[in-house]
């Protein structure tokens, strides 16, 4: 029996019961639509997060003091050295490093006249704006120069600037942080949240001044931009080796942007798969629906099955014909569900345009594959019943 003839024959049989066919197709469509919509949302969430991180720059290495893994050998022997500006200078001289910027962080109240605002104060250097790919909206960023120099310049995040100055231009104004006075030299362009900071609601000051003002001996982080993305691992090893040599013990942690990204990515993908698993339950229900319809169909069409056998249909052809019906039902449901799911996602994006939700290609392929699998899995048993039907008995009834 030719494949197209088989499909045409099965389709013809399905056309004979339009309502029943439509309901079975609808059942599968609901399941597939759920799978498609939920994967699209889950994937959208993952992509949203990944894009957020990718905006940081994918050549980013982050150094923090202390070792993340607790190796148990000497509970009191582990001395954590400070991460210092001298370390920063040494790192910046490494050949694979394009730029390195320090971060020293404290939260304090920034005051302008009678207005005050508690914001994170980030001590850093001129390199920071390049390493983090940020832009200045007005004025300029911290001046380049010796990081040990200190200074009284301050750069405001967009939100911090608005909250402190409202409609006034902050450039050239003097603000106070505790006993220290700073002169505003620039305001950053809006940037949004990143790595746990709302970068619009921070202020930047020279790193040495920040460390002195907040009485810090160690940097909070050193951010490193590597020249070539392919050399990330080599650069990471360079930095570790350098700091090992300087501190005489491995007491820092270096991680890459990619490592963070893939950690988040895999968590969100696991969440997506969990959602899909839940949606698959409805597919299983739809499969049982198909099985039910096919069993009814086999019982109803005993005479037809007997006739087909009398006309010389082999058992496997009868099996194929009924299996094809089940698969057509499921595949039809799959296609309808795919359309409905994609439509629902599109509607969602209409309302939340910033959320990059769209069904990933693998989900589309998987949805169609899944629907065929449902058809086969739940169609085999009814089809086998059709095959086992005794043609003599089947023909005796009319």
């Amino acid at each position: 029996m030719r494949f197209l003839d088989l499909v045409a024959f099965a389709a013809g049989a399905l056309r004979g019961h339009r309502l029943r066919t439509a309901l079975s197709v609808g059942g599968v469509a609901v399941g597939i639509a759920a799978v498609v919509a939920l994967t699209a949302l889950g994937e959208g969430a993952r992509r949203y997060v990944v894009e957020e991180f990718a905006a940081l720059g994918s050549n980013l290495l982050i150094v923090l003091p202390g070792k993340v893994e607790t190796t148990g050998a000497a509970p009191f022997g582990g001395v954590t050295h400070d991460l210092t500006i001298a370390d920063l200078r040494a790192i910046a001289r490494l050949p694979r490093v394009r730029k390195a910027a320090p971060m020293a962080v404290a939260t304090d109240t920034v005051r302008y006249r009678d207005r005050g605002r508690d914001v994170p104060v980030l001590g850093t250097t001129a390199e920071f704006i390049d390493v983090r790919h940020m832009e200045v909206a007005s004025g300029e960023f911290l001046p380049a120069g010796d990081p040990d120099q200190g200074g009284t310049e301050m750069v405001l995040g967009q939100k911090a600037a608005f909250e402190l100055f409202r409609d006034e231009s902050p450039l050239g104004r003097v603000v106070r942080v505790g006993p220290y006075r700073f002169r505003v030299v620039g305001v950053l362009a809006p940037r949004g949240r990143s790595l746990g900071f709302d970068l619009d609601d921070v202020v930047f000051v020279p790193v040495r001044t920040a460390m002195r003002a907040f009485n810090r001996t160690s940097l909070f982080r050193i951010l490193i931009e590597v020249r070539v993305h392919d050399e990330m691992d080599a650069a990471k090893r360079d930095v570790l080796a350098l700091l090992d040599a300087r501190h005489r013990v491995e007491d820092v942690t270096v991680f890459t942007q990619d490592a963070l990204l893939s950690a988040f990515g895999s968590i969100l993908r696991a969440l997506t798969l969990a959602l899909v698993g839940i949606a698959s339950v409805s597919l299983a229900v739809a499969g049982v629906g198909i099985m039910n319809v096919m069993l009814v169909s086999v019982t109803e069409r005993r005479a037809e099955i007997g006739l087909l056998k009398a006309l010389g249909a082999a058992d496997r052809q009868v099996l194929a014909a009924f299996l094809a019906e089940a698969v057509l039902l499921a595949l039809g449901g799959g296609i309808v569900g795919l359309g409905a799911g994609a439509g629902a996602v599109r509607l969602f994006v209409e309302f939340y345009p910033s959320f990059p939700a769209s069904p990933p290609v693998w989900a589309v392929v998987a949805a169609l594959g899944l629907s065929v699998a449902v058809g086969v899995a739940f169609g085999v048993w009814p089809a086998r019943r059709a095959t086992r039907l005794d043609p003599v008995v089947a023909l005796a009834r009319r």
Partner: protein, 255 residues
């Protein structure tokens, strides 16, 4: 062409057993026209199913064109049915969702005949039964006689050697019944072996030979000239004149 040797067919019913066919020995030559008659429950339907390779003897041998059907696999028997045997049923058994032409195409579908060839052969088969203008009609748009002619076209479209007709006129008015019988007898005259199961004496009359069944057995030996009634001129179409019906030992009821 057909040879049954001591064939039994036993069904298990509850705890007991029923011999639907008991110890039948029968031979049918190529091109014969045989009527299988007998009252309801005499085993003639079971015989027909065995002859059509839809059922297998419990005991005994059935040789179809020299092959032992009992030893064939289900697959091989389906091939035999597909290519060598045509069926015509009392209730036509046309698929209601398919047009007359598509019904005739069915056996070729399973044989994997390409679409164009299928169309052409179905058209020829319908032409042979005089239904070319009704080819696109569905069964519910056809009269009983037309439906049975479609079924005949379907039965012979694969050019079989044997045509098995189970009460082919049982659901037809007298006029349609005559048309249908004329049609299959004309095919018989061109060499198609014809076995008609009937309890209508007028139909049985027309056969070249009448095999009478009762209680699962054949009355007489079932071999030509040995017990079964012979109508010598049947194949020449001269037996169409009515003869007095053979006495039936049992009261008749529906097939």
């Amino acid at each position: 062409m057909i040879r049954l040797e001591g064939v039994w067919r036993t069904y298990r019913v509850g705890d007991g057993k029923v011999d639907a066919v008991r110890d039948v020995t029968l031979e049918v030559e190529r091109g014969e026209h045989v009527a299988l008659i007998g009252p309801s429950g005499s085993g003639k339907s079971t015989m027909l199913h065995i002859l059509g390779c839809l059922d297998r003897p419990t005991r005994g041998r059935y040789l179809f064109e020299g092959r032992d059907v009992g030893a064939l696999s289900e697959e091989e028997r389906s091939l035999l049915r597909r290519h060598r045997i045509g069926f015509v049923f009392q209730f036509f058994h046309l698929l209601p969702r398919l047009s007359a032409a598509a019904n005739v195409e069915l056996p070729m579908l399973f044989a994997g005949v390409p679409r164009e060839a299928r169309r052409a052969r179905a058209a020829r088969a319908l032409e042979a039964v005089g239904l070319t203008p009704r080819a696109g009609h569905r069964p519910d748009q056809l009269s009983g006689g037309e439906r049975q002619r479609v079924a005949i076209a379907r039965a012979v479209v694969m050019d079989p050697a044997l045509l098995l007709a189970d009460e082919p006129t049982g659901n037809l008015d007298r006029h349609s019944a005559l048309e249908v019988m004329d049609l299959i007898e004309a095919m018989n005259r061109r060499g198609l072996t014809l076995i008609v199961v009937t309890h209508d004496p007028a139909i049985a009359e027309r056969a070249g030979r009448v095999v009478r069944m009762a209680d699962g057995g054949i009355q007489g030996a079932g071999i030509r000239g040995q017990g079964s009634e012979e109508v010598p001129s049947g194949r020449d179409g001269l037996a169409l004149s009515p003869r007095p019906p053979a006495p039936d030992p049992r009261p008749r009821s529906g097939g």
